[in-house]
Symmetry: C2
Subunit: 206 residues, 2 copies
């Protein structure tokens, strides 16, 4: 039983690495099982389909990332400083990925959105839930900053969406140019998108 559950975990870990490196479509069940060192026949004991495995990879990745985002965004400190910390954590994660793989793999959710969202409704739905949850977390901080008079936005949710969109766009370029320096403007851009009333910081950032 110990070995069996270990095989399930090895399949999940192998799928996670392979999807990060090469996306979902390019992978076959045989290749995943080979990388996991598990007989192909046992795959369907653990996962109903390749899609079910992809959903498990997405869920596991979000469980980790959600913990990190909540820790940063719901923790102590001024609201805007918590947003700044979110970008620092993002840069650190992309840099760590680059050091271990040689290339920046980008955002797993963004990657799968552009690769898969028009192909399977199950994956599209799950990714929508995850980005909604990201926007929820950012929106909470935006509302706090608004209440403290630190920023000016008419629509906190739309502003939070724009901050997350800017993050996805810059991570896309960091991946394309394999360069974490591309993430440098995130903080200044966030201040600009939120109409931050911190002239010293905003002008220094620009």
């Amino acid at each position: 039983m110990g070995r069996t559950s270990d095989a399930g975990e090895r399949i999940l870990a192998a799928a996670r690495s392979l999807i990060e490196l090469r996306g979902y479509s390019a992978l076959g069940v045989a290749e995943i099982c080979k990388a996991a060192g598990v007989p192909k026949g046992s795959f369907y004991y653990f996962y109903e389909s390749k899609e079910a495995l992809a959903l498990a990879v997405i869920d596991e990745h979000w469980a980790n990332q959600e913990r990190s985002w909540k820790q940063v965004l719901s923790g102590g400190g001024e609201p805007l400083q918590r947003l700044r910390r979110l970008f620092e954590v993002t840069v650190a994660a992309q840099s760590a990925g680059q050091e271990s793989c040689g290339t920046i793999s980008g955002c797993l959710f963004g990657n799968l959105t552009l690769e898969m969202s028009n192909q399977t409704e199950a994956i599209r739905g799950r990714l929508q839930e995850i980005f909604d949850a990201q926007v929820d977390l950012v929106e909470t901080v935006v509302v706090e900053a608004l209440a403290q008079g630190e920023i000016t936005v008419a629509d906190a949710r739309e502003a939070a969406r724009s901050v997350v969109a800017q993050l996805e766009g810059q991570v896309l370029f960091a991946k394309l140019y394999n360069d974490t320096e591309r993430l440098g403007p995130l903080w200044a851009n966030c201040l600009a998108l939120l109409g931050a009333h911190t002239p010293g910081e905003a002008s220094a950032a620009r």
Copy 2:
């Protein structure tokens, strides 16, 4: 000869549609030839490899898009209004795609960046050149707006990159939620990212 060259164009057109719908990795040469109504054996008469075909699809798409971007951004009118027109053209293109396919296919270059840039250096290099050219076009307008005192940015190139990144990020969400309304904030966000001195417009947009 007439028929032969027609077959080459049919392969290109079939590849363009299939890549827009399902990405690059999921496709095989046999499927592309079947969709094009061309015998599989003739594929390699026109293209050295599937990668060479993908590069041809990318080049053709950029030739069309570059023409449109140049027309909009280098045309007459105030600099900021030309940027606004770029977003209108983008929304129109995504809406037209949604009407014809039922789903928003997003930006071909962004899609291939997240799917492919870590897998083939030839595709990564070509996509870098295209995004550099997009940033060049936007930067020229940013420099003009700066000279006219309409905006405040310390680094015109970085500002242009951020405008293009915001565009890619919002198009990603438009695709995920299959909703062109997601592109609504592009203009207001562009003004914010550029530190536009048009209080009436900026506050109306916010």
